[in-house]
């Protein structure tokens, strides 16, 4: 193998993409894209939503066909028209959505469609042994090959998905936001697996919105913007600011905007004491007007359950809540909305939007459901709301399924702004959206705080929680494990979240 003296790495790329272009309806989404992936390299692919990352990955995976350009694996030009061809060529893709069967075992999932046989029957033992071996190679000890998928945590399912990709003897694995569903400690697990894969000489194409992961994991970073490669260099040549600038094409003065002038925590608006249900227990907290309170915790620690209970979607069965000094016991989201409480849900597509409906129909949905008499006023307001949020779309009649994640999230925000909420609950408000849209969400949160709304934000992204919150509540096992002031460190949050150093629970 040739070694390039200057970089100290193999000089022959395992994957070389050049001049790759793709248009949809005459609209170019990828133009003249190029990248080189070397054996054992982790190559970060970043860019805003709609920058062309997914299109590039799907072309490599054989889901889309390219319009122009070349793809070479080991110097040989390849052309995939079907995902199976890509896998045979040694290129596996881990998509954001899991392609796993929940009621089948881990081994059955991994060997789906190519089960080892003995005569006419599936050789279960061989299949399970091979799976155990595969998992062991990746350093995974806590997943049994016979366990049902549904019994695993989201993180473990993600690992199964990756193990499945590896099992195709993949020399190149491309991963689309593999950590989107993972929390802190689980991300570490993924890091470990990626290290193992690197040691084996597997190359990884890594798409993520989380800058920290890019810097932690990647050797090289390629930045896409508007379908073109705008930068490609070793990761060490970037820092946060320069990477963000390359992605958005303009400097972002402050990633987390400062509180708007005149914002001050006022009277207590929402108070919980001794609240619990079948998933939560003994939750007490005070949320003041003009305050942004972050909620951190591991996946499954009860963060989502907390905001759902306050929103009446899965109400508390114990304890008491007051809103603006009066008893508040929402039995349904409808009750909560009548009290001007809003919930921006975690899963935008499944819970936040009616994907086949238009932008305007989605934006008016809350008002129409709960205050139909105010529909006219909300409709007249809508254009202002959309332009203040900078929603990018064809027109108000466009179906929201065709919008990018960031714009979809802005539509979700617009529908809640229409009821002028006094308490705003946000669950993972920036999941899967691009940097520009994230900043728009943060700016809106600051503005709402300035207007005297109380904001409770659940997030798995610690920099976000710490960057935006006046206080941080940390949850563990359905309880509040503790509270940290602004300026706390990620380590402090993690200690509380994981229960390290004997914090009471």
């Amino acid at each position: 193998m040739d070694i390039d003296v200057s970089t100290g790495r193999p000089s022959a790329p395992i994957l070389r993409v050049a001049g790759l272009s793709k248009s949809f309806f005459g609209v170019p989404v990828l133009q003249d894209a190029a990248l080189e992936l070397f054996p054992g390299e982790v190559h970060g692919l970043v860019g805003e939503n709609g920058a062309g990352k997914s299109t590039l990955m799907k072309i490599l995976a054989g889901v889309y066909e390219r319009d122009a350009g070349t793809i070479e694996i080991d110097g040989r030009p390849v052309s995939f028209t079907h995902p199976v061809q890509a896998r045979r060529a040694g290129l596996s893709t881990v998509f954001q959505e899991f392609n796993l069967l929940p009621e089948r075992s881990v081994a059955q999932n991994i060997f789906l469609g190519r089960e080892p046989r003995r005569g006419l029957l599936v050789n279960r033992r061989e299949m399970n042994d091979a799976t155990a071996e595969l998992l062991a190679e990746l350093g995974i000890t806590d997943i049994r090959p016979t366990a049902t998928l549904a019994s695993l945590s989201v993180a473990q399912q993600q690992i199964v998905e990756i193990a499945k990709a590896v099992s195709y003897d993949a020399r190149i694995i491309s991963m689309d936001e593999p950590t989107a569903a993972l929390a802190g400690a689980e991300v570490e697990l993924l890091y470990g697996i990626i290290d193992r894969l690197k040691e084996r000489g597997t190359s990884i194409l890594y798409v993520s919105h989380r800058l920290r992961e890019i810097f932690d994991l990647c050797d090289t970073v390629t930045v896409l913007k508007d379908g073109r490669v705008v930068a490609s260099a070793p990761a060490r040549e970037f820092d946060d600011a320069s990477l963000v600038r390359a992605m958005v094409g303009r400097p972002i003065s402050a990633y987390f905007p400062d509180p708007s002038p005149g914002t001050a925590a006022g009277i207590p608006l929402l108070e919980l004491s001794g609240c619990g249900n079948h998933q939560l227990d003994g939750v007490g907290l005070t949320l003041r007007a003009g305050e942004i309170v972050g909620v951190a915790g591991l996946q499954g620690s009860g963060r989502t359950e907390l905001v759902e209970a306050v929103f009446g979607a899965a109400p508390f069965t114990r304890g008491s809540m007051t809103l603006g000094g009066r008893a508040y016991n929402p039995g349904s989201p409808r009750d909560a909305i009548r009290h001007r409480v809003a919930l921006i849900t975690e899963d935008r597509k499944a819970q936040g939007l009616s994907l086949n409906q238009s932008i305007i129909d989605n934006a008016l949905s809350v008002v129409r459901s709960v205050h139909p008499g105010r529909t006219g006023a909300a409709r007249r307001d809508a254009p202002n709301v959309f332009s203040s949020l900078e929603v990018v779309a064809r027109d108000l009649d466009q179906e929201v399924q065709y919008l990018s994640g960031g714009n979809q999230q802005k539509v979700v925000l617009a529908k809640w702004l229409a009821i002028d909420p006094q308490v705003v609950l946000l669950d993972e408000p920036t999941r899967g959206i691009d940097v520009g849209a994230k900043v728009a969400v943060y700016t809106l949160m600051r503005r709402l705080a300035q207007e005297g709304k109380a904001i409770l934000m659940v997030s798995s992204e610690l920099p976000e929680v710490l960057g935006m919150s006046d206080r941080v509540l940390v949850m563990r096992d359905g309880r509040l494990a503790g509270e940290l002031p602004a300026g706390a460190t990620e380590e402090q949050v993690l200690q509380l979240a994981t229960g390290a150093r004997g914090v009471h629970s």
């Binding site: 272009s21 248009s23 949809f24 309806f25 005459g26 609209v27 170019p28 989404v29 133009q31 709609g50 997914s54 299109t55 799907k58 889309y64 066909e65 319009d67 122009a68 913007k225 508007d226 379908g227 958005v248 929103f311 989201p333 409808r334 909305i337 009548r338 849900t345 499944a350 819970q351 936040g352 939007l353 009616s354 086949n356 409906q357 129909d361 008016l364 949905s365 809350v366 129409r368 459901s369 709960v370 139909p372 529909t375 254009p383 959309f386 332009s387 900078e390 929603v391 990018v392 779309a393 064809r394 027109d395 108000l396 399924q401 065709y402 919008l403 990018s404 960031g406 714009n407 691009d434």
Partner: protein, 365 residues
């Protein structure tokens, strides 16, 4: 920023130009049905030019009215993500009620009419509540209602034609405004259909209608926006049964009173709705397209009749249409799904150089 969404910009203008919107609408399944109706109409005219005479045309519309009204009722249920199989039995039951309770006593016409409407609403209420609160699939619930009502009707009538309502009541279905220039007569069913269609169109633009479609699209999201999903769906079932009641009132007029009146109406209505591009499972399609679907269906049967196909083929044709329409919708749907990231996936398409589209701004938003 979002190159994939096409000609995009920060939302400022509310709407695209009207002409563009109409063209776009005609390319959706729910818009294409109007084109299909026009094509079928021309085909029928070619087979039998006298069909185009105003008098015969207005009678055709009157004949189709009960089916179109039933389709409008079925639309509400289907767009909310459910089914109403009990429709045909409701029609039958209402026809029998009218025939037996009104009899030749003109004075009883109005009270019985009121009773029929209450009965219709009640059947819908039961269908809706059992479906939404007991969480029984509507397919099963309304199948049960269908059989229960049918059994009741057969028990009551012994399976034979019974009763004959007063002539004034039958006039609703068979009468009309006479001595109209050009048309000779405007049948009442045409007016009733116009009123029902206008009402349905209006309702679908109201908060209730928009929420109904949102529930069909994503019930969980609708519930989290504060929509009382159970009550919204239940009202859709009530609208469906009421539409069946109206269809029944018209049918008493020109079909008479017999336990076979209304048989198969639920499937005809579902076929019309599906043909109107309304997606089974909910969340997509327009109410007037459902009515247009009924006209397309009747025009097709008329055409087949003129070219000498026996009417006994009706059920088979209808079955084939359901399968084809749903299949076509699924195809279309998949294509649109790919559009989501974006469209046109034709391997045979020649490679063309990317060309910037007018309005696509380079270098960011």
């Amino acid at each position: 920023m979002s190159v994939a969404t096409g000609r995009s910009a920060v939302l400022e203008q509310n709407r695209s130009p009207r002409g563009e919107r109409v063209l776009r609408a005609l390319r959706t399944p729910s818009g294409a049905i109007f084109v299909l109706v026009a094509v079928l109409f021309v085909a029928v005219l070619a087979a039998n030019p006298s069909f185009g005479e105003p008098g015969s045309l207005i009678r055709f519309i009157g004949r189709t009215a009960p089916i179109a009204i039933a389709a409008i009722g079925q639309y509400f249920v289907i767009v909310s993500g459910e089914f109403d199989l009990s429709m045909g039995s409701v029609v039958t039951a209402q026809v029998i009620i009218a025939g037996n309770l009104i009899g030749q006593d003109e004075a009883r016409a109005l009270p019985v009419l009121a009773l029929m409407l209450v009965f219709g609403a009640f059947v819908g209420l039961v269908n809706g509540l059992v479906t939404t609160l007991l969480r029984v699939p509507s397919f099963i619930v309304t199948l049960g209602t269908m059989l229960a009502l049918l059994g009741l009707v057969l028990y009551w009538t012994g399976g034979a034609a019974t009763g004959n309502p007063a002539d004034s009541f039958r006039q609703i279905g068979r009468g009309g405004i006479r001595d109209v220039p050009v048309l000779e007569i405007i049948p009442y069913p045409v007016l009733i259909l116009a009123a029902v269609a206008a009402g349905a169109f209006w309702l679908m633009r109201r908060p209730y209608g928009r929420t109904l479609v949102a529930v069909g699209d994503n019930a969980q999201a609708a519930a989290l926006t504060g929509a009382p999903v159970w009550w919204i769906r239940t009202r859709a079932f009530m609208l469906s049964s009421l539409a069946a009641t109206v269809a029944g009132i018209i049918l008493v007029g020109y079909a008479g009173v017999h336990p076979s009146v209304g048989r198969g109406y639920e499937f005809t209505a579902i076929t019309a709705v599906v043909l109107g591009g309304v997606v089974l499972g909910g969340g997509r399609g327009w109410v007037l397209s459902a009515a247009a679907g009924a006209f397309a269906l009747e025009l097709l049967f008329t055409l087949l009749n003129f070219v000498g196909v026996q009417s006994t083929w009706r059920d088979s044709v209808q079955g084939a249409i359901i399968i084809l329409a749903v299949g076509a919708a699924a195809q279309n749907w998949q294509r649109r799904r790919r559009t989501a990231a974006s469209p046109t996936h034709d391997p045979n398409r020649p490679i063309e150089a990317p060309r910037p589209t007018p309005g696509t701004t380079e270098g960011g938003t």
